[in-house]
């Protein structure tokens, strides 16, 4: 039944729209569609972004791994390499601070009425992604494939049951968030 749902293209477009609606609604309620909140996080004065990301990761981790055990979900971990993931991540970080939004929160910022996000940021992201697409054939055999990761996930890398990673990871995230709150951050 799920495979049929997954293959129904039109239904999936509506489900995507619905999931996006929920995502944008939550991002706005969380305050992370605002430049000041995102830059505040990067200046280490407002930890809203990290609190949202880590609690989403912890809740998602528990549920998705349970659903996977029940045969209702499959994982889709992205491949990576030092050359692509680390170098690209650092370039992304420079853009993250310069723009003050990221590709998801900028959609929310546009919805909230931020014209700098619409006129500057959105145009820039599309342009930057297009430039990357043009350079891709030259980058792919070179830096992007330097130091490819052999395993896609930590349980695969450590050759252990996923729950032996999920449980400690959730515990560490929870402890870190409690510590953040205890410091008044």
């Amino acid at each position: 039944m799920l495979t049929r749902l997954h293959n129904s293209k039109k239904t999936q477009l509506f489900l995507g729209l619905g999931a996006g609606f929920g995502f944008g609604f939550l991002l706005e309620k969380g305050g992370v569609t605002r430049y000041d909140v995102i830059v505040g996080q990067l200046l280490l004065s407002d930890f809203t972004v990290l609190k949202i990301m880590l609690s989403a990761a912890a809740a998602g981790m528990l549920g998705v791994h349970l659903l996977r055990n029940l045969g209702l979900a499959q994982l889709h971990p992205k491949p990576g390499s030092w050359g692509s993931t680390a170098v690209g991540g650092l370039i992304f970080g420079l853009g993250f601070a310069t723009l003050g939004y990221c590709p998801g929160t900028i959609a929310g910022a546009v919805g909230q009425g931020w014209l700098d996000a619409l006129a500057g940021g959105l145009t820039g992201i599309i342009l930057g992604a297009g430039i990357f697409a043009s350079l891709y054939p030259r980058l792919k055999p070179g830096i992007l494939s330097k130091g490819e990761f052999k395993s896609r996930t930590y349980p695969e890398l450590l050759k252990i049951n996923p729950w032996a990673v999920v449980i400690p990871a959730v515990a560490i995230i929870a402890a870190f968030l409690v510590w953040l709150e205890s410091r008044g951050l």
Binding site: G16, L17, F21, A56, L67, T85, L144, R152
Partner: protein, 172 residues
């Protein structure tokens, strides 16, 4: 229904909400939440308007076809969801310059938009280089315990913190 019109929710309620939303997208759509590939597809759609079907032969667009897909609709939905939330709480407002930016670099929209454009180019370029963004790697990838995503998320913050301190503590 006061919670719908509230200006802000606890970040933990929001985070857990996003986590639960990803349970649904994994089950119903077999997809993790992610945003940045949609921008690459959009760039291909725009390029196609000018250069025609030759664009489809670009190796990158063979992997990420320039068409509307689930993730592209997710980004459109995020605009609508945020708009609805902001309208409900009365926080929707057309504005050019965020207050932290204005305090450090002045209230002129043109400076802010120029820098936002530059930041956007780096962000779009870097997200495709890294194969994902704050949602695709930072939330969806970390929750799958992906090796690449934990590294990407750490690098997003290393680069972001360094650049933010440079912009606001040295330039600003």
């Amino acid at each position: 229904m006061d919670w719908l019109t509230m200006g802000r929710w606890s970040p933990y309620a929001v985070g857990i909400g996003i986590g639960v939303l990803s349970w649904l997208t994994f089950v119903l759509s077999d997809k993790p939440i992610g945003c940045s590939a949609a921008f690459a597809r959009t760039s291909g759609m725009i390029e196609r308007l000018f250069r025609g079907n030759k664009v489809l032969e670009k190796p990158y667009f063979k992997e990420f076809a320039p068409r509307v897909d689930w993730e592209w609709m997710l980004v459109v939905g995020a605009i609508l969801g945020s708009f609805t939330s902001a309208k409900l709480s009365g926080q929707f407002k057309l504005d050019w310059v965020p207050s932290m930016w204005a305090a450090a670099f002045g209230p002129r929209p043109v400076t802010r938009v120029a820098v936002a454009l530059l930041g956007g180019v780096l962000l779009g370029f870097g997200s495709r280089w890294a194969g994902g963004c704050t949602s695709g790697h930072g939330i969806s990838g970390t929750l799958q315990l992906a090796v690449s995503s934990w590294l990407a998320a750490i690098c997003f913050f290393i680069g972001g913190i360094a650049a933010a301190f440079f912009i606001f503590r040295i330039l600003g």
